[in-house]
Amino acid sequence: MRYSYNWLKELSGTKKSPDQIARLLMMHAFEVEEVLRYEHGLQDVVIGKVEGLEQHPNADRLRVAQVRVGRGDVRQVVCGAPNIALGQMVAVVLPGSTLPGGIEISEVKLRDVLSSGMICSARELGLGENHDGILVLPEDAPLGAYFAKYYGLDDTILDIKILPDRGGDALSHEGMAREIAALDGYAPRFTEKPKKNLKIPAYNRAPKVVIADKKISARYSGLCIKGVTVKESPLWLQARLLVLGYRPKNNIVDITNYLMLLSGQPIHAFDADKINEGLSIRRAKKNEKLTLLTDESIKLSAEDIVIADSKKALALAGVMGGASSAITEETENIFVEIAVFEASSIRKTKQKHGLMTDAAFRFERGVDMELATEVLPLASSLMIELAGGKLFGLRDIRNAKHVPHKVLLSEELVLAVLGVRVPLFEIVRLLALLGLKVKKKADKAVLEVTVPSRRPDLIDAWNLIEEIGRMRGYDKITPSAPVLPLTLPHEESGKKKEMLYKTKAVAFGFDEVMTYSFYGSKDIEAALLTEGDHAELESPLSPEYTYLRATLVPLLLRKAKENLRNFDTFTFFEYGSTFAFPIKGALKELKELAFVQVGKAKSEEQVVLSLKENVRAYLASLAIGEVTFSPLDEETSQIVKTFLHPTRGAEIRVHGVTVGYLGEIHPRIAKNFGLPENRVAVASFDSENLWHGRNTEKEFIPLQKFPYATRDITLWFPRTVMASDALEVVRTGGGELLKEAELFAIYEKEEEKSYSFHLAFGATDRTLTTEEMDVSFDTIVSLAKERFGGYIRY
């Protein structure tokens, strides 16, 4: 909220500068976001008196005025305003300056008569729309004084952030002044205010008020004033509102705003003649219509609270008035509402209709129901002072009772929470400064603190300790090391896995990227997924971020495309949450680990094999054993079949359990993401399943004592036989004596395919004989023939 320094100073009696106040508040109360001078642009406007007035010799519509702007300083000014008169106090701008509207003033001759300055209209001063004539100031305006200074426009604005806990008291100049006075070390006139009572005429002519549901309004009061004149507010009031960013409207509306800024109590004025019989405060009917002050027509529901007469809804309670009962220039009789409405209802209404008004802002934070008692007499006297009329009636209905809230506070708890001993007398002093009543209980270390109604945020002892801590200053607390038992951390966290997965991936040359957790219909479409399988945001920032990612792959492919602009080959990965529906309706969050490899254009190497080797080595480094890569088949899940090239993909299993997949992306997917064919491969894992595949139990196997005998073998098979089949044949055939089998070459020729292996035979207790090795070798050959029709070529 914006606060006027002049006003705060006047209310609090502080002698501190705006910057000093800002610093004080920052360290002890509120965050001050900005301190800035109010730019009125009227530095060169002074108050003058029209001492001479003559007809312009050469122009019928102009007159020549002699304006005194100081002792011995009379200026001749040519003026065309019809309302200028001898003896008036006026605002004069002197030559060599510029007005807010950009009008430059210099000494000129107007039809041969010298004019040194200009007498200003309200509009020329930036004070409203009136341009019918010059602005006439009150007779007691001080001659020669700076106009801006005299009217309080020379001011500094403090923009202070009020958090929701203090919305009840601090969103007002009085509340802020109270805080400043407390921090200054005295709270003189805030402790006890003399109560002014309203004089009510014997006959109460205020409309009758019926509140249907006591919960919706804790207090509803109002004044009826008859015979008012709606007109422009006096300059001091206009100036106060202008400085705070409010546009003056008319005296009635300006007073309601002024009193809200002063006290924090939102006020609404109705044209009393537009109220048909009594008022009722009730929930709106379904589809009931209301035209707001802004002329916008809205449809209401039972969540909204309205102020209605016997015929229709007149205002949206606590949020905005209606057009039909608004104050106009013709208004003669007014009803001024000073009430409190239920905070959560106001909040719902405000959000539903998008009406971010000052009143709603305060009501949703909670307005002190005792405030009305102070504001009623103020409103009455100010209205009558500035608009005339007479008080004809008053309503004041209380549906709730404020019970003074008492909190017990022990000196020991203050120490326990703050970690510093605050002497009892200091506790008492600090709380008293804030206007809390403090009583010592029989036990001397315990205080009974009575909280005023304006501070509903002070509920328990901890709230009071915060007040003590901040008032005293947190810088007075010396850091101190805790004394703690030596204990082990509590639980194994997913973070540990994450860190291991990530650091190992980097060791194999993968760069780590992070992408958003959301994607849009476009991504879902491109990845050939279905929107229905995705969790969806209620109000996304943009269509691109509508759905929660079910897999990391689509956005990683987008990133692959983007990076192709700068690199021709790269590998990267992401580890992150994905959101899936394994069971209808139940959203499950999983951690996915996904890799992308983009191979060079025109490379001999199959990108999928390159990624496979990277992944294999990566898994080995994670101690994940028994990893197999098997071609996609009928059993393969739909999503994998969609993403991967049908004959260049594999399911990855650990100990027979599927943990992920790997493969070149499907040409269709490549096309949809604008990626080249044959160059992009992906791998993806469910990190939890993968983790279960880790084999961390290690046992040492004695080193081989007897040398291995090595031999190579090349087996020819029909084309359909895969490397894994050939290896299986070699392993099975070789039996126990075969210690190592390394596939080192694959050839294809017409309908045949050959696999060449380096074989190593050995035993732990002896050197093998040639005969023993031959038996194993021959078994391999015969098994190859038996299983796949393979044969050996020497």
Binding site: M26, H28, E31, L163, G167, S344, R347, K348, L415, V417, L418, G419, I465, G469, Y474, D475, I477, P479, P482, L484, P489, H490, E491, S493, K495, E498, M499, K502, T503, A505, V506, A507, F508, F510, D511, E512, V513, M514, T515, Y516, S517, A535, E536, L537, E538, S539, P540, L541, Y545, L548, E562, N563, N566, F567, F570, F572, S577, A586, L587, E589
Partner: protein, 354 residues
Amino acid sequence: MNQALITTIEKQALETLVAIKDKETLMRWEVQFLGRKSELSSMLKDVKNLTPEQKRTLAPKLQGLRQKLVTELTLKQVEIENNARDWEGERVDVTAPGIARPVGHLHPITQLENEVLEIFEALGFAVADGPEVETEWYNFDALNFPKDHPARDMQDTFWLKGGGAKIKKNGKTEAERLLMRTHTSPNQVRFMEKNKPPFRVIVPGRVFRNEATDASHEHTFHQFECLMLDETGKVNVATFKYLAETFFGTFFGKKVTIRLRPSFFPFTEPSFEFDISCVLCDSAGCSTCKQTGWIEIGGAGMVHQNVLEAAGYPKGKYQGFAWGFGLTRLAMMKYKITDIRQFMGGDLRFIRQF
């Protein structure tokens, strides 16, 4: 046998050796001067026939000469071998690029998270994590955010469409609305439910705010939650200040002062904003600290008793602090990154700088 003869042999041997350019000649030289039939060998054999006086003077000289010739021979052998190879022909240009091997880079956020984790782990903190899709209960209600209260506006929320999760609360199963967690704080209650004080734990993670992005705003960023709890009185504001100073002092490698300012969070009481003394200018005033000497770094406070109650603890029995700070912001400060969107941009030109 005399001194003169030894000198002559030495001179002759060395002079001949200098001129030798090939292995064969060197072998002949070895035979001539060091071989069994060489003059030097016979002289060494004759030593035993010398007078004690001569033995004392000549024997060390003979041994010395032999030693010297053997050394020279070895040097010459190396020289000849070296000269025999075409070193230039074998040259590999070591200034040329090596054989490419990709080097992976951890995301800067991950790197920073690692650094932070290490410090906290050294201080005996456990590391926990929690779901990114949260229930309204854990994200707001349990953290003492009243329903329909402006406190909820402090964190613009991405709500999920549709029903929600069924969770058990006070023995009843209720449907909870789901949302993208707006902070890592839900894990305070999650951790408290599963563990009993005293404990200390940190929870790093991705959080979400429904706000438009620009160079300094992101809807997705990374945060740290830190929670330390014990019986009332043992962990207090002074403890927090100590811990925060220790952490940042270690992180930045220099003394850091903590400044606490009053603030409001529904889940802490008292609540603070906390600033650290500017580590870039040592509080002299610079552009990072906007000339104030202080950097706003996060929020903190003593865990609200209502939160402890929501986790099932009796009111007043335990007390501790919770604090959170933005890893993303810390990264921007540390690496002087001016556009926050870089972090989630996936541009390898960015990632590879870290």
